[in-house]
Symmetry: C2
Subunit: 232 residues, 2 copies
């Protein structure tokens, strides 16, 4: 709505107070920066109230916020559209040992092509990407990149953390290899999900905090000691 109707939102703001509520922090998304710029152009004073965001609340995993690199987004792949730009950003983060937070796609109020063409206001049921889907897409992209000779950023044995409903009463954390996380949706439960790919600069305290959430503690320990412990 804010992408298409910012003029409607701002229309009466010259004379009355308008409040615009968002989920998470107002500036997690660039659309809201744009809304402020439009308000500024019309000389409408704006005041902004920060809020908790997945980008800081993710610290609930015990992973230290100082050790996160750039955040990336994962979109729903289709047969013909599999954007791989997230992969290079993860490469950049991993190269310097940093964790990567992946924010997972949401499709709400999307219409099918047929309904769009016919101008019908019928929307598809909402879809929320799960940790399982995200992990599968990541392994798919790793294969694509490896075939091109540009792979090796992570593998099915890379350690990752899946989270669901962070900050809510039913918050859930599980960790394991990317391969294990492909099958973790049943234990994570309902949306919203996010995923973190571990960086190799991982700290002992992070290990201590996370290990009780491991899908397979023995395997988690083995890979941690082999590939992560004091590697950076």
């Amino acid at each position: 709505m804010v992408e298409n109707s910012s003029d409607d939102i701002l229309q009466d703001a010259q004379t009355v107070d308008i409040a615009f509520l968002v989920v998470g922090d107002p500036f997690g998304a660039t659309t809201h920066t744009d809304l402020v710029l439009r308000a500024r152009a019309s000389h409408i004073p704006v005041s902004i109230i920060p809020n908790a965001s997945i980008m800081s609340a993710i610290g609930v995993t015990g992973l230290q916020l100082y050790n996160f690199g750039q955040t990336v987004s994962m979109v729903f792949f289709t047969e013909t559209w599999k954007p791989t730009s997230f992969y290079n950003r993860i490469r950049e983060n991993r190269k310097i040992g940093l964790h990567t937070l992946l924010l997972l796609d949401i499709k709400v109020k999307e219409a099918s092509l047929e309904n769009l063409v016919r101008g019908r206001r019928i929307y598809d049921p909402p879809r929320y990407m799960t940790v399982g889907q995200c992990a599968m897409q990541m392994l798919e992209v790793e294969n694509i990149m490896t075939e091109k000779g540009e792979g090796g950023v992570y593998s099915k044995d890379s350690l990752a953390v899946g989270v669901a409903r962070v900050g809510g009463a039913t918050e859930k954390i599980v960790c394991g290899t990317l391969e294990q996380l492909c099958l973790a949706d049943s234990s994570l439960g309902k949306p919203l999900h996010s995923l973190i790919l571990l960086g190799q600069r991982s700290h002992e305290l992070e290990y201590e905090f996370l290990k009780i959430f491991a899908i397979d503690p023995v395997e988690w320990d083995r890979i941690w000691k082999k590939d992560y412990q004091r590697k950076n």
Copy 2:
């Protein structure tokens, strides 16, 4: 207090509910991870409520959270202690074009060496690092590193953003070169301050948002176009 007295905090938690309030998000600091681990070891159930944090609220500058690398801390230098580890982290971020958020040191309830030795509970007045001090220390470290042949991560002409009291009613943003920010404390006002060093992956929308806060708009434009615009 939480560093030294976590046992006191947890002491009665077996029988009564204990609430522990923090400024910002509970997991911005590793001490709080440690507190949760200690509670876990004593089988004390913990539930955590996320909060707004400078690490996401910094989006109020118009800089996109996706374009931030790892966050670093800047401590007060002394004559004999000038830790430079932050410099390499900024180097890593800048190499891939990312912004760096610098969190500035706070000294609260610190005693002088003399008072400590005599066991007197007399504390020095609280000190909060300012953007000006931080920018000066950064330039000092750049000189030290350059003399060692390891410099060149930034210079007095690098663009940066200083913020004060983010999220508060008197929030303030100014941007300019590091050299200009050395003298920006009077316009930023009281603590708390933070500083962002710009990455070269900067987006046009970030430029658009920030330019009204420039100390010297002509100089800001000149350097932006020369060193930042479409450089990554």
